[in-house]
Symmetry: C2
Subunit: 407 residues, 2 copies
């Protein structure tokens, strides 16, 4: 099986049409709504925020998926307003957004998913939303870049990924777009993302591939540790390629979905609000994978660790200290910490073992910390549990962006 290549662009996905439009939500005239449609009804699966204060579109999409998981035709997405903490009126607005999409596409409202992102606690400007859906329906095509732009909030660049796979039974594509630059924590589908494919999937397959993939990609990224009310990840499969996933195609398809998910998830971290560094955090030797993840999460959300990375300061004691307060029990004597420049463990520098600093050169550590990507490996014992997380630093710009987000 040849290794799959992920592209940061999307040429086309059979049977899917998209549009990104300006509906008047963003004051600067930028694209602010996106519509993704399928000519054929799709099988779908979703992963949603575990936040108790779920936004209206999340509640609606969960309701949609609670029934058949087949027959879906489109996803309509707006920015600037999260339609969260908006009560009954918010739910009615989400339903109206779906109904309008169904009307312009000529299908039923229960075939439509909706997503919203933006400020919490304000109502959707329904006139603009309704108008935006009509606009989008008129410009459906293969402009995936516009579709990726239409869901951006504080993102500085669109996030797309695609893989084209040649099989003995034909060619298929897995492609996705995502947004999300803050309020990112590894506890659920983090942000908004839609992944589409022209293979045919059963509902059980759709669930399986999406969950397996999210677990090691979208659920492993941390920007700031906050978990949104709106996080939604959807997989839509329309079967337009004629390829279905039989056992012999299983591992390759799994890999394709994983690669697209990982590319999108990492793109979110690379474009984290104010981020200047991409950090791969590999925790090993824990008693279980979930323990390793819990330790990694404590480190990745630590403001002191994140600001040290921002400053390029090899103040690694903060990493060990964050692990120590993670709530996971481990033996302090067995802790080892190494760092390497880049996104792999090559040429790593061992900083700490046997409860004390090694005799490493400060200049070597400083050189690694100065690079735009740092790989951190923390060993906490001899267990088999491990987890890899992706995170970024905490900069002045994060504070600027979030101090005045609504203005």
């Amino acid at each position: 099986m040849a290794s799959l290549t992920v592209e940061p662009t999307i040429a086309s996905v059979r049977g899917f049409n998209v549009a990104g439009v300006h509906a008047g939500l963003k004051a600067d005239g930028a694209l602010d709504m996106t519509l993704i449609t399928s000519e054929q009804p799709c099988t779908a699966a979703g992963v949603f925020t575990t936040n108790l204060m779920k936004a209206a579109p999340v509640l609606l999409d969960m309701e949609r998926l609670g029934t058949t998981q087949v027959g879906y035709r489109a996803v309509a997405i707006n920015t600037k307003c999260a339609n969260a903490c908006t009560g009954e009126r918010g739910l009615a607005n989400a339903r109206q957004m779906a109904q309008q999409t169904a009307d312009v596409l000529g299908c039923d409202a229960d075939q439509i998913f909706v997503m919203s992102t933006g400020v919490i606690g304000t109502h959707l400007p329904m006139d603009k939303i309704v108008n935006g859906i009509s606009l989008a329906a008129e410009s459906l095509g293969q402009d995936w870049t516009a579709a990726a732009h239409g869901i951006m909030t504080t993102d500085t660049r669109p996030k797309m990924a695609s893989v084209v796979v040649e099989t003995s039974r034909g060619r298929y594509t897995v492609a996705g777009i995502a947004k999300g630059a803050g309020m990112i924590a590894p506890n659920m589908a983090t942000m908004l993302s839609v992944i589409v494919t022209d293979v045919g999937l059963t509902p059980a397959q759709a669930n399986h591939y999406l969950q397996a993939s999210a677990e090691t990609t979208f659920n492993r990224i941390v920007v700031d540790g906050d978990m949104s009310t709106n996080d939604t990840l959807l997989l839509l499969a329309n079967g337009a390629s004629g390829v279905t996933i039989t056992p012999e195609l299983d591992s390759q398809f799994c890999d394709a979905v994983h690669r697209v998910s990982l590319a999108l998830a990492q793109a979110i971290v690379r474009d984290g609000e104010g981020a200047t560094k991409f950090i791969t955090l590999h925790v090993t030797g824990a008693e279980s994978d979930s323990s390793a993840r819990q330790i990694g999460n404590a480190i990745a959300t630590s403001p002191l660790v994140k600001t040290a990375f921002y400053g390029g300061d090899s103040n690694w004691g903060r990493i060990v200290a964050a692990a120590g307060r993670s709530g996971v029990s481990f033996d302090a004597e067995s802790v080892k910490l190494s760092i390497a420049a880049g996104e792999t463990f090559e040429s790593a520098l061992l900083l700490f073992e046997n409860e004390m600093p090694t005799s490493y050169q400060e200049t070597s550590a400083a050189a690694i910390m100065a690079s735009s990507a740092v790989y951190v490996k923390l060993q906490v014992g001899a267990g088999q549990g491990e987890a890899t997380l992706y995170t970024c630093d905490l900069s002045h710009d994060y504070v600027s962006i979030n101090g005045h987000y609504r203005s």
Copy 2:
């Protein structure tokens, strides 16, 4: 019983002598070591970090308190180096620091507590430490301001508090100093603090009063959610006033310790790294006090909530969203959120109830958010559980301070 008045200064505490000196640890010549001594042997109690990676001085002090809890003579404290993640050599250095203090005071090393604060993962410069202890012993007296200065790291001002209590059996004093401006989370004694009193206490009493007080003061403050390897809070009681705490003096003494603790804990938050706002966060209606505290902690550590406060942006949805991801189960329909300017619930503005925003005036919310102190009340149900936490905002200066802490 007359209400007790807390002073932000300390005149004197009978039988105690202190000094703050420059031992050469801080490059700018500022005071960097503190010695607190008692002429009479003291009863002591302590609360320590629950971080697994405990610093050497924490391990030594815990060992000291594990035996008799009586007979202590002094606390020696250094800044710039935390003596954490330093292994056997670190423990030997902590012991030597205690031994040197015992030598200059003419007592045994096991009568001495030590504390360290500063960078993790470097060894104590023992020549400077030993010299600093000698210097401090030569200048012992009642200069509590110098003592409070000698333990400062990123603190911008010294933290002191004292209460003088008149009783039918004489006058006594409870006084304390504290340091701590970052790495502050409400999960243990947070920071370094020494509280002294000239009343006589049994070990059981010392434990009781210290634990009860820490629970609603030092354990309720959040600057950044990070938990130090070195956090230590000690209570020393030398009995020099001749007053012992009998049942009729119990509640007043409890109040005195609480007020000193609260003043010090709040002073830490007010001087939080880069802090521009003091936030009182009152969570009510939870099923238990611990649930309320867990919700409060999620809010107080949320970077999005903290940056919104910094920006003076009444983006209250982030508060509700943080509560929703706290891991505590509550009914979204019963959530109510109000804010008020200042440190009490007077003239509060209700922002959110019945799952949606109230019809409040944005200008009223903005006026409250613009004040230097904000009181936030979040009701999550009809339960009896509640908790009050004290926190601050997240500013550009926090990032500047922590991006280059070691330099």
